[in-house]
């Protein structure tokens, strides 16, 4: 527990320039440990998505410092040249809509990540089936994505985010389309996975049903975060 999975200090993001400039992040500090599931909440326009995109290395911050599992990846400029490989190997993504690839079956949706990372098909599919088993969707392994229920799709998406042993998973409103029972099931799975794979998971959410489950919550307001202990209610 000595190396944080994510460490942000003074992270800033400004969109645009001059009069039109928007300071979406005004100095975010955040430390997240492996195996932790942390909530990120805040009103609309507070900068949640912006923070997630910076963490996901799809937009470049304006200033600050960003460490991923002990490695500096941003310090005023990107410290990593291949951001795609960074995203592929070290960051898992889970979205509000599952955003699976509709033309691949369930197994290959998960196996695609290790395949993109250069693993051979057999090894990648084995990894996928292991994860599908862990997430209790093994029986749907050969199905088309469109034949899955919303909850099943979200579990497949979680399996995909875990496929390359990423130390960090970014989840953007992962429970929004689900009823409370299924939403809690997804949170339980995220907690289980965080434990099982020692992964740090950040969950952006508005969802009142799941907020009480976090042990630690970052509130973001007007581009700044402050940390707060959550209820940590057992699920």
């Amino acid at each position: 527990m000595d190396t944080p999975a994510i460490k942000l200090t003074g992270l800033k993001k400004r969109y645009g320039t001059g009069d039109a400039a928007v300071d979406a992040l005004k100095g975010v500090d955040m430390t997240i440990w492996p195996g932790e599931v942390v909530g990120l909440v805040g009103p609309s326009g507070s900068g949640k998505s912006t923070l997630l995109k910076c963490l996901g290395a799809v937009i470049e911050p304006t200033a600050g410092h960003m460490e991923l599992a002990g490695e500096v990846i941003y310090d005023g400029v990107w410290k990593i040249s291949d951001l795609r490989a960074l995203r592929r190997d070290r960051i898992g993504f889970v979205f509000q809509a599952p955003y699976l690839i509709p033309f691949l079956d369930v197994t290959d949706n998960v196996a695609l990540l290790p395949m993109l990372a250069g693993r051979d098909n057999a090894a990648a599919r084995k990894r996928a089936l292991d994860l599908l088993t862990a997430l209790d969707v093994r029986h749907r392994a050969g199905a088309q994505v469109s034949q899955l229920s919303g909850g099943e799709q979200q579990r497949v998406a979680i399996a995909r985010s875990l496929a390359n042993h990423a130390p960090v998973i970014l989840a953007d409103e992962p429970t929004a389309p689900l009823d409370s029972e299924r939403a809690l099931a997804v949170v339980r799975i995220l907690n289980d996975m965080a434990q099982q794979y020692n992964t740090a998971i950040i969950v952006v959410t508005h969802d009142e049903k799941i907020i009480p489950t976090f042990k630690r919550i970052y509130h973001i307001r007007d581009g700044k975060t402050h940390e707060e202990a959550g209820e940590g209610r057992p699920i």
Binding site: V58, R84, R88, Q96, L104, A111, M115
Partner: protein, 400 residues
Amino acid sequence: MINLASRDVLHGWGKFLFTGIGLGLLIGATLTMAGVFRGMVDDGQVLIDNSGADLWVVQQGTLGPYAEPSSIRDDVWRGIVGIQGVAETGNAAYLTIQMQQAGKDTRVMIVGIEVDRPNRPGAPPYLTSGRPILQGHYEAIADEKAGLRLGERVRIRRHDYTVVGLTRRMVSSSGDPMIFVSLKDAQEIQFLKDNDALVNERARTATNPAFNRPGVPGLLEAAQASATQARNVNAVLVRLAPGTDADVVAGDIRRWNRLTAYTKAQMEDILVAKLIATSAKQIGMFLAILAVVTAAIVAFIIYTMTLAKVREIAVLKLIGAKNRTIAAMILQQAMALGVIGFLVGRMAAGLWGPAFPKYVLLLPQDAIGGFAIVLTICALASSVAIRAALAIDPAEAIGG
């Protein structure tokens, strides 16, 4: 790594196949167009080859007998047959008429040939059934495309002719089937008129400005002569002895007989290059437009297919797929579309080609060339979609 393109295609194969078939019909039309052109060239070529001649002797200064009217006296062959290297000559008369047979209107070319000896130049080289013309009068050999049966009686102008033989691929340069009759019959059909008509005709011909055009001396005389005499033919076809230089003999004929003589190569130039030059340009234009239309359609289809996958592409980029992987996916789909389109097109052209009234010749090298062009067009057309796909921001997958 799995092949994303094939997975995507298989996932929506119905739509993809349907699109490919649509594209294929367009490609089929393009191939047919090329086949029409090849058919025209081939018609000209077989006209030359099947005539069995090495030289064509025609009226001085004309491109006769196929591309321009030509009229020479039917005894000029006497001056030709004695020339060194000439093996055999044959008088020939050609005229195109509209023939009514069994209620159908068919355009045919009547060919008058000398029937005294078999295998004179100008006669059909082989018969698919029946026999050669034996009697001097009222017998005919017809190309199969004329739609006549063996033994059938057919009315040409004032007389009934009996079809005694059938032949194949004997067509005029414009693709009309040939009907062979004896030279005497052909001359009658071509030149003889009733007396009233003759007098009227002469007077009219003399005042017709078309026959008094400046720069065409002798036209009126030629027209008058051909209108009154049955002793004219359109050309003398000459077969040379083996090993004879056609150009030398042609030169001799030109020099001594005040006639124009064409070798096979020159005749080919007249029929293939000159006669169909305008049609070739016409078809060339059409082919160019079809190529552009095909490119535009492929580009549009691939672009639309790509835009429908913006979210998936954003996700692929977000989870680390390389630009190369995404570009390959789009390119391969464009190529697959091209392959399906080409196969469908080639099949369609093969199916509907024979239904065309004129000969449609689908050459393997045109198919290969067409395939290469289709693939090139698909590759180029996909570049628009690839550019659009590479511009997709992976941040879009995360959303607002």
